[in-house]
C-alpha cells in the first residue's frame, strides 16, 4: 500500500500530469489560455504516428507469436462486453434513459488513446517493457463497443439508431485508427534501422510533446467541466469513477488468462479502463442524435480521463504488478 502511494505521488509529480493539471486549473479559472485547434490536431497526429511506429518496430524486433492474436481477440471481446456492463451500472446508478445510457456505455467499451500513451510513458519511467503489438490491440478496441451500444438501443425499440454502410466506413477508417495501424505497419516494415533515421523526431522529444498535448487536454477537460456542472448528478459522477476501475479489473483478468507479462497486462488494463472521447462521440452524433453529448463527453473527458490519468494509472500499475508478481 505504501508502494501504491509513492507510485501515485511519482505519477502526480511528473511533468506530464502537472501539465494536465495546469490546463484544468487555467480553464477552471477562466483564463483565456487556448491551444489552437490546428496545433492540437497536429500534435495528436505526431503522437499517434510515433506510438504506432515504435510499436511496429518492436514487433519487427521480437517477432509475432500467438499472444498477439489472443490479446487482440481479448481486446475486441472486452470492447464489445464492457458497454453491456456499463449499461447495467448506469441503469442501477443513474436515471438516464435507455438512449443516453447506451450512448454513454459505448464510450466505456471503446478506448482513449491518450490515456494509453500516458500509460506507455509510465511504463517507460518505471523501466518495464511491454509488447509492441499493444498498439494494434488499442486500434482493435475502438469500434466494437459502438456495435454493442447500437444493439442496446435497437433492442429497446423506439426511433432507433440510424446506421448505414457509410457510417461503418467512417468508424472503421477514422483518422486515428488509420494513422495508428498505418504507422504500426510502417514500423514493422522499416524495423529498428528505419526508426533510427527518424528517432530524434519521433522518440526523443515524445514526452515533451505529450506534455503540451496534456496541457491542452486539461484545458479541454476543464472547460467541459465548467460548462456542464449542471449535468453531473452524484450518480453520474460515481459511475465515471467506478466504471474505469471495473473495466480495468476485467481487462487485467483477461490479461491474466492470456498470460500477459506485467507491461502488456498493464496496458490492457488501461485500455479497458479508459473511455473514448473522439471516435465514439462522432459516431453517436450521427447515429444517435437524440443522446445528449453534454452527458457522455462530460463523463468520459471531464471525469474518467482525469481520474485515469492521475490516480488510475498508478492503481492499474500496482494491480498489474500484484497479479504478475512483476
Amino acid at each position: 500500500m505504501d508502494g501504491l502511494l509513492s507510485l501515485a505521488l511519482t505519477n502526480l509529480g511528473s511533468p506530464l500530469i502537472l501539465s494536465f493539471v495546469l490546463g484544468v486549473a487555467a480553464a477552471l479559472g477562466r483564463s483565456d489560455l487556448v491551444f489552437p485547434e490546428a496545433a492540437a490536431k497536429a500534435l495528436s497526429i505526431y503522437l499517434l504516428f510515433a506510438i504506432g511506429i515504435k510499436g511496429g518496430v518492436s514487433v519487427a524486433d521480437h517477432g509475432i507469436d500467438l499472444r498477439l492474436g489472443l490479446t487482440v481477440l481479448a481486446g475486441v471481446a472486452l470492447s464489445a462486453a464492457l458497454p453491456l456492463l456499463a449499461f447495467q451500472l448506469l441503469k442501477a446508478m443513474t436515471r438516464l434513459d435507455r438512449t443516453n445510457a447506451a450512448a454513454v456505455a459505448a464510450h466505456y467499451g471503446s478506448i482513449s488513446i491518450v490515456t494509453f500513451v500516458a500509460g506507455t510513458s509510465v511504463l517507460q519511467t518505471a523501466g518495464i517493457p511491454s509488447d509492441g503489438f499493444m498498439v494494434a490491440v488499442a486500434a482493435a478496441m475502438e469500434a466494437p463497443a459502438i456495435l454493442s451500444a447500437l444493439w442496446l438501443i435497437s433492442r429497446g425499440g423506439g426511433s432507433g439508431a440510424q446506421v448505414d454502410a457509410e457510417l461503418w466506413r467512417e468508424i472503421l477508417l477514422n483518422g486515428s485508427i488509420v494513422l495508428l495501424i498505418g504507422a504500426f505497419a510502417i514500423g514493422i516494415i522499416v524495423g529498428a534501422d528505419g526508426l533510427a533515421e527518424v528517432e530524434s523526431f519521433f522518440v526523443a522529444p515524445f514526452k515533451g510533446a505529450l506534455c503540451l498535448f496534456l496541457l491542452d487536454m486539461g484545458l479541454v477537460a476543464g472547460r467541459g467541466l465548467r460548462r456542464s456542472r449542471d449535468v453531473l448528478t452524484p450518480g453520474l459522477l460515481a459511475f465515471g469513477l467506478l466504471m474505469p476501475v471495473v473495466g480495468g479489473v476485467l481487462g487485467a483478468m483477461a490479461g491474466m488468462l492470456i498470460g500477459l507479462p506485467t507491461g502488456s497486462l498493464f496496458l490492457l488494463t488501461v485500455l479497458s479502463a479508459s473511455a473514448s472521447y473522439i471516435a465514439v462521440p462522432a459516431a453517436m452524433r450521427v447515429a444517435v442524435p437524440d443522446a445528449d453529448p453534454g452527458i457522455y463527453l462530460t463523463l468520459s473527458l471531464g471525469i474518467t480521463f482525469p481520474f485515469n490519468l492521475t490516480l488510475g494509472l498508478p492503481l492499474y500499475l500496482a494491480l498489474a504488478r500484484m497479479l504478475t508478481g512483476g
Binding site: Q162, R223, R227, P281, V286
Partner: protein, 103 residues
C-alpha cells in the same frame, strides 16, 4: 450591372453530418455551395467553442448555397431530411446575383 433574383440558403450543421448534408444537397440537383468554418456558438444544447473540442464531434460548419428561386423547395426538402433529427439551423434570404447563368 444586371442582377437576377436568387435565394441564399445558409445551413449551420454539426461537422459529423457535413458529408451527409452535401450528399443531400447534390441529390437535390444543387451543385454550388461554399463551406465556412464556425468557431463557436450557442443554442438549445448550450454554448460550445472550437477550442473546447478534442474530436470533430462537436464542431459545426456553415454551408451556403446560392440557388435559383425555383430550386428552393427541392433543396429544402432534401436538407430537412438530414437536419430533421440533428441540431442545425436553416435560413433562407432573398438576394440578387450577377451572372445568373451560373446557378
Amino acid at each position: 450591372m444586371e442582377q437576377h433574383d436568387a435565394k441564399r440558403v445558409v445551413i449551420t450543421i454539426e461537422t459529423p453530418m457535413q458529408r451527409r448534408l452535401l450528399a443531400a444537397i447534390e441529390e437535390a440537383g444543387v451543385t454550388g455551395y461554399s463551406i465556412l468554418p464556425v468557431i463557436g456558438g450557442s443554442g438549445r444544447s448550450g454554448p460550445w467553442s472550437a477550442e473546447g473540442q478534442v474530436g470533430r464531434a462537436g464542431g459545426m460548419v456553415q454551408v451556403i448555397c446560392i440557388i435559383r428561386p425555383d430550386r428552393l423547395d427541392g433543396l429544402l426538402d432534401g436538407v430537412f431530411a438530414v437536419v430533421e433529427r440533428h441540431i442545425g439551423v436553416v435560413t433562407v434570404t432573398d438576394c440578387t446575383v450577377l451572372r445568373a447563368e451560373r446557378f
